[in-house]
Amino acid sequence: MSDVHDQPDAQPDPAAEYAVGVLSGAERRAAERRMREDGTFAANVVWWENRLAPLLSQVRSIDAPAVVWDRISADIDRIARVNGTYLNRLQEGKPKRRGFAGVSPIWRTLAGASSLLAVAALVALAILIPPQGFGPGTPDGSPMLAARLASETGETVFTVVVDLKNQTATLIPVDGISDQDRVPELWLIEEQTTGPRSLGLIQAGQPITLPLQEVAESASGSTLAISLEPQGGSPTGAPTGPVVATGALDRI
């Protein structure tokens, strides 16, 4: 018997194993963490990827259906609507989070966010939190809109419930926005309007109810975004800082 498993174990080389693709999901995550923290390891992975790349020429090319480009194009336009035209132009200095990298997965994860249970919990929370200086929000069947605002990495930062009858928006923080110098400001970006409309400043750490003006049911399908602004809010009336979370407003 001279089968390999009778010999002493071969040393694993995680960089090579990652590049070849034999690692489990958890092992891949661990390798990716190490790539971020350990430059030598990351360079080893790239070395292997480049050395093995010639094999890719043996993979048969197959045309993807044209609809794939249409979807990519629509996603890009949607991202541009949120940040490109209105926000990037006004952004000053270097954004803390390099551009808006990675916004894309949000559009997909959003789809999974509106399970009935989650929405029911949202509405319950929105009712429990008393509006400040406004009549109590009542579960009387008046139309409500909800959004899950997620960061560029897909983590939910805020959930938002808009009570159209009482014209209030209740924001429930899920994950902190960490920025010592700036304050989060909420924006509504409607399909047919020229630019984002400020809905007011919010507090990162606690639930808050904001008074709204003239937000109609037609806002369903619009995008909400949170940008980081100087103390006191955007000086220009349009977002000037990095967008830290976005989400689509849907009827519930």
Binding site: V4, D9, P12, D13, G21, V22, A53, S57, A64, V68
Partner: protein
């Protein structure tokens, strides 16, 4: 002949590098150009791993959106553009297949099992000497090891899946591939 196609490959590479530079500056038409030139290869790579057209389409969509966001990260000194793109596609497809679990392989398209010998724009994905060196080094491995590494690379299967398919113990498959990778590294570093 080889020189001519190498020249064409070099032109294609330069063109893609230029396009990616424009993509980094927010030029959507440049992304379309990158897409048109590379989608078939990337779709083939993703489909080979996922064996599911819808999933491969979703991966492709994610890949080009990532390229749109991250084109500035591309460093032409570290990798050729097609290698960079195909590697993103491969990694996304592997992550996806780990997430959803592997589908029944009985109906895998037999065309996908076959290596592609037909020359396309990216037949010369990498510099000719890189290609030759990898061929030589893989050929230096015994047949079983070489095949295991090739299969692993093309299918994105885990050690466990490879062991199940080859009907050998997990430890055996790990040893075969790990030993092979050590030898391969030595050979490729020469």
């Amino acid at each position: 002949m080889a020189d001519r196609s190498s020249g064409e490959a070099e032109d294609a590479r330069r063109h893609l590098v230029e396009c990616l530079r424009h993509v980094a500056a927010g030029d959507k038409a440049a992304l379309r150009e990158v897409y048109d030139r590379t989608q078939a290869k990337l779709f083939g790579v993703a489909l080979r791993i996922l064996n599911d057209r819808r999933e491969a389409e979703d991966v492709l969509q994610d890949v080009y959106l990532s390229v749109w966001m991250k084109a500035a990260d591309f460093d032409a000194n570290r990798a050729s553009p097609i290698t960079w793109l195909a590697t993103i596609a491969r990694n996304r497809a592997i992550d996806r297949v780990r997430q959803i679990g592997r589908r029944d392989e009985k109906d895998i398209d037999s065309a996908l099992e076959v290596a592609d010998d037909s020359p396309d724009a990216f037949a010369h994905l990498s510099a000719e000497d890189d290609r030759k060196r990898l061929d030589v080094c893989l050929d230096e491995l015994d047949e079983r090891t070489g095949n295991a590494i090739r299969t692993a690379f093309f299918s994105g299967k885990t050690y466990q899946e490879l062991a199940d398919k080859a009907e050998v113990p997990l430890g055996t498959m790990k040893s075969v591939i790990r030993r092979g990778l050590i030898k391969l590294k030595g050979c490729l570093s020469r």
